[in-house]
């Protein structure tokens, strides 16, 4: 659905040029929720704005929903939706008026545009406030209107730039449901976020960006496994040397460390390793005091790939 090659963009700043995006290669598949993760200033928004035809890349190519970004940006515009981070509504008009206008920007006839607006108001549950002026909306309501505006022309791909930033937990959960609903309707959703939990819970696949480059790409599980695997901590009450001897030779154990009173085992998949560990220890008569599974987070992935924690940056 989206295929980019060597996408680059630099900006002139007071102190020389800033290379915001330095060669991005991405593949986004049809019908997936693709998460674009990275700290503020990593180049996520710049990449997104290039893909949405708002800024012209310095170099590289991209194919979006079958249209060439460099050669036919007009065609790209027809096939994509874009929802900016900072909102997009005007205070003194209503959501319904905005929806009709936005549909008409795409050349949709007036009566059809009205019907589309009404359908969007239903689908995004805006009816309660759709005929009030936008200045009266809460942050969450505003964001829902922004998304409804972004997909009023039923695009094949929609770009959402940090759609949940600044929302309370309830509105965020609501937003996740909306994003999943868009995918169910057949849309490909490209979403940027700097929330690890969001990328983990919502996205089918993610790419991690840092200093203008992609440092990792894959499903959240793949990325975590690639980095560290799962860690199983076993408490064996002083029988550590014996347990170490028993488990050290097992094929599924990648690495083994002794920690105070127990062992840390690095395994590919904790869920299947735990029964095996239990069986081995039980069979040899080692009494098990505790067993704990630690799954690496996307923050661990980020830490390994960039040398710092996303939460700190």
């Amino acid at each position: 659905m989206i295929e980019t090659k060597g996408l680059r963009k630099s900006f002139r700043a007071r102190k020389g040029t800033v290379e915001a995006v330095r060669g991005v290669d991405l593949t986004v598949r049809d019908g997936e929720i693709f998460g674009f993760l990275g700290p503020n200033g990593a180049g996520k928004t710049t990449t997104l704005r290039m893909l949405a035809t708002l800024i012209v890349p310095d170099g590289g190519d991209a194919l979006i929903a079958g249209a060439d970004l460099r050669r036919s940006p007009g065609e790209v515009r027809r096939r994509i939706g874009y929802v900016a981070q900072g909102g997009s509504t005007w205070d003194t008009v209503t959501a319904r008026e905005e929806l009709v206008l936005q549909a008409r920007f795409y050349g949709i006839a007036k009566s059809t545009a009205r019907a589309r607006a009404a359908a969007a108001i239903d689908a995004f549950q805006l009816s309660e406030f759709a005929d009030r002026k936008c200045q009266t909306y809460s942050g969450g309501q505003r964001r829902r209107v922004d998304i409804a505006l972004g997909v009023i022309h039923q695009p094949r791909v929609v770009f959402l730039d940090e759609p949940t930033t600044g929302l309370d937990p309830q509105s965020r959960a609501h937003m996740w449901d909306e994003v999943r609903r868009l995918r169910e309707e057949g849309m490909t959703v490209f979403i940027t976020t700097h929330y690890l939990e969001e990328a983990d819970a919502l996205c089918d696949r993610i790419a991690i960006m840092d200093y203008g480059q992609i440092v990792a790409e894959g499903t959240p599980d793949e990325l975590k496994r690639e980095v560290a695997g799962d860690v199983v901590t076993v408490g064996v009450n002083g029988a550590a040397p014996k347990a170490e001897g028993l488990l050290g030779g097992e094929g599924y154990v990648r690495k083994l460390e002794s920690s105070d009173g127990g062992l840390r085992l690095y395994v590919d998949e904790g869920a299947t390793a735990i029964p095996q560990i239990l069986r081995t220890l039980d069979g040899a008569g080692v009494a098990l005091a505790s067993i704990e599974l630690h799954r690496p987070s996307l923050d661990d992935v980020f830490l390994t790939k960039t040398g710092r924690s996303l939460r700190e940056s």
């Binding site: 035809t53 027809r78 997009s88 008009v93 022309h153």
Partner: protein
């Protein structure tokens, strides 16, 4: 065709916003009325002219002033729209870039025409007389000024993107344009050097032309000269602003 359709779409939207909050439309009418009531009698007395002659000189001046100051500051509204994300929302759609500008400028021209018509009618009791065809030509001059300056204002606003930068710039340009156009007093009262400088001010030509038209001399050379100069400048300003709209800045 698409350009016309999109321009009409933007125009309708902008017009709706004006009608929903007509404060600025009304302020635009009240300000020239102040000049008409509070400065007109002074003007008449200072130049020692009979009423009709005085207002034939004075009203064209305040109409041109209205055209300049009513449209030169429209860029401020665009900066608000940029900040709200409305412009970006239109730029990701296939809507014509030129229409984004023309629809807004057309709104500015239409509101100016309404304001100017009201001022003209209200000047009649003071003794203003003029022929309809000449007045229509004078309004064409005003429309060109409005189109040119609103496009220029939008173009500059797109570049600066900040009210704090836009206000001083527009004032710095606007005030000398006003003073060098003979709007408040005819330039033939000026010393030679000031008159020479004002010859370079296209709005000085516009004021001369509007005065000639209200005086019933549509054949005066200042009329075709003003129309030509203003039309050329309008094409330049609209072309430049349209390019700014199309090109992405940041």
């Amino acid at each position: 065709m698409k350009l016309a359709k999109d321009t009409w779409l933007i125009f309708q939207r902008q017009m709706m916003l004006v009608l929903r909050n007509p404060v600025w439309l009304i302020v635009g009418i009240i300000q020239p009325l102040y000049y008409l009531f509070l400065f007109g009698p002074l003007f008449k007395g200072a130049l020692q002219l009979p009423s009709a002659a005085a207002y034939q000189l004075f009203v064209p001046g305040i109409l041109v002033q209205l055209a300049i100051f009513g449209t030169f500051f429209v860029g401020f509204a665009l900066i608000s729209e940029l900040r709200a994300g409305v412009i970006e929302r239109s730029r990701v759609t296939p809507v014509s870039r030129l229409a984004l500008l023309l629809g807004r400028s057309l709104r500015d021209v239409v509101t100016l025409m309404v304001q100017a018509a009201i001022i003209t009618v209200l000047s009649v009791p003071f003794g203003l007389t003029a022929e309809l065809t000449s007045v229509l030509l004078a309004f064409a001059v005003l429309a060109l000024i409005a189109l040119m300056l609103s496009a220029l204002s939008y173009g500059v606003a797109l570049k600066l993107r900040s009210e704090d930068a836009l206000a001083p710039l527009l004032n710095t340009i606007g005030i000398p344009i006003l003073l060098l156009s003979g709007i408040l007093l005819p330039m033939n009262h000026a010393p030679a050097w000031l008159k020479d400088v004002s010859e370079w001010n296209p709005f000085s030509w516009a004021v001369d032309a509007t005065r000639a038209l209200f005086a019933g001399n549509p054949g005066d050379p200042s009329v075709w000269k003003a129309l030509t100069i203003l039309a050329a400048l309008t094409v330049v300003c609209v072309g430049w602003a349209a390019r700014s709209f199309a090109k992405s800045v940041r």
